[in-house]
Symmetry: C2
Subunit: 329 residues, 2 copies
């Protein structure tokens, strides 16, 4: 077996713990360290990987092949990814779609300067869903694609509810509308409004004596988050929330329907779907597969920032091109 790929994790929240577990399933990888701003005293790793202060990573350049960044897209990654990309091959899951071009430019400049490979916006959306949008558009140029999310927990929407006065805790599920899915799968190419594509279901723990009607009104009328959706609110106890809604499931589907033939007489549907018990653990698993790709690309001399669009799929799989052609092509 060739040398193992030496992985470092930066940030040890849900995503970092997911990467730790995902590395454990890859015999070709070695988790050499977990780096956090909180430092080793306040972090107990699940594996036997050592924990370091974030700043120590710069002293370990020759011990790390790929850094997997596990911070948030709002404030962590815009700073950390370019900073680290100058010194390490890096992977991140930057998911603020509108800011991807700007992030790409910064990370690319750092990677070119440092002769490293960086892969940004890795996960399932952006990530595997993006791949499927791209491939299905390329194969069926005359057609239309739709992305549905859920059923799954939206952390951003759950947080928005928690900020309402009188709310102790909350969990929000995004749910695709079944009729919309059916119409898309039937090649009807529907025009769908935001409201027609997804509904939102909220489970809310209110403080004793709180005005439930007022909380519900605040939720369903909240601009951007809920006002454009049909939203249902259920008030439940803290015990019920912890018992029934402690998971972080998610998923969804990318569906493209398109026509072929000179007379457009034939319809085709391409559908890619995910059903995930744990959104962060699945995202982490995608990050780790792309860490393998970053390592191999750097071994071949590549440098600069890439996305899932730039990575030949073979780089993701531990087996050799020969074996892959023989076994799964």
């Amino acid at each position: 077996m060739a040398d193992k790929i030496r992985i470092a994790i930066v940030g040890y929240g849900n995503l970092g713990r997911g990467v730790e577990a995902a590395c454990d399933k890859c015999p070709d990888m070695d988790l050499v360290g977990i780096f956090t701003r909180r430092g080793p005293e306040s972090v107990k790793a699940k594996s036997d990987a050592p924990v370091y202060y974030f700043d120590d990573i710069f002293t370990m350049k020759d011990k790390i092949d790929v850094v997997v960044l596990c911070g948030g897209s709002a404030t962590d990654l815009p700073v950390q990814t370019p900073m680290l990309a100058e010194h390490f091959n890096v992977i991140d899951s930057f998911d603020t779609h509108a800011k991807i071009p700007e992030h790409f430019e910064k990370v690319n400049a750092a990677s070119v300067k440092g002769s490293t490979v960086s892969i940004i916006s890795v996960g399932w959306d952006p990530g595997l869903f993006s791949l499927n949008r791209l491939i299905s558009q390329a194969v069926l140029p005359e057609g239309r694609d739709y992305t549905f999310w859920g059923k799954g927990v939206s952390q951003g929407h759950s947080d928005a509810i928690r900020r309402i006065a009188g709310v102790i805790d909350a969990r929000q599920y995004t749910i695709p509308v079944e009729e919309a899915l059916e119409s898309v799968r039937a090649c009807e190419n529907p025009e769908l409004t935001t409201r027609q594509k997804h509904t939102r279901e909220c489970f809310v723990v209110a403080a004793e004596g709180a005005d439930l009607a007022k909380i519900e009104a605040e939720i369903v009328n909240m601009p951007n988050y809920f006002a454009d959706y049909d939203t249902t609110v259920h008030f439940i106890s803290k015990e019920e929330l912890d018992r029934d809604h402690s998971g972080i499931p998610h998923g969804g589907m990318v569906i493209r329907s398109g026509k072929t033939g000179f007379d457009n007489s034939n319809n085709h549907v391409i559908e890619f779907g995910l059903k995930l018990d744990s959104n962060p653990e699945f995202t982490s698993s995608v990050l780790v597969a792309y860490a393998r790709a970053a390592y191999r690309l750097r071994q071949e001399g590549a440098s600069g920032c890439k996305t899932v669009f730039d990575i030949a799929p073979g780089y993701l799989h531990p087996e050799s091109p020969d074996e892959l052609r023989k076994k799964i092509l």
Copy 2:
């Protein structure tokens, strides 16, 4: 707009006609010729592309960017792809899974010698299904994948029935078993026999006075083709066959379920599915998207034989990397 990609089609059966129609949907492509062994007198193209004798292609090396080979895997492609790969960038849909490594070696030698790019075994299986097997294995190393085909027409099985004495015409459908699909999607990781995965349904036109019971017995007991499946046989009239079974639909799904977390407590399902009105027209559309990739790779100086595993997805889509990051990542 940059120069158009000049496409040539070799072979003008269902697949060749599909490539002709698919090129028509790609503003960045120009179909410069259809090459057949039958020659221009006996072929009427649907588009205004000129038709030539196969041998004439070697006189047109500077007028063609990519040759899309549309012959069969049994006898045409094993000869034609290596022969043409020495002189042209080529795409084929070679689908004899067991012989892919041997075909790859021959085509690669020709492409290296001629400094061309060849992409073999392009379509949906091998092709997009293979891609999904690879990606889902890489993302969920602890798991299991299943490929189901159908509902769709199997030409090979239909042909096998037509060879039986007393059979005038026949159409065979491969159908996934619903219970097997449900079990796989429920992460039960079932062990499935051939019989448990698919059923086969046959529509047969028998000659007048033929022994129907004998034909049915010959079908359901035919080794390799039917003996391992639950097969149903319907005898219908030629009119019914032509009216209800003239299409060539197909499809299927690649499903992988896998576990993540140190305690394997989270299940995930990745599913890629196709529902195709016309198997050859869809396969052709995939071929044309990969023709774009072959052209671009050759422009960058690449050479040698590739498969879908070696092609970064961005090469398939007509838009620029910048635009793709902005619009669909």
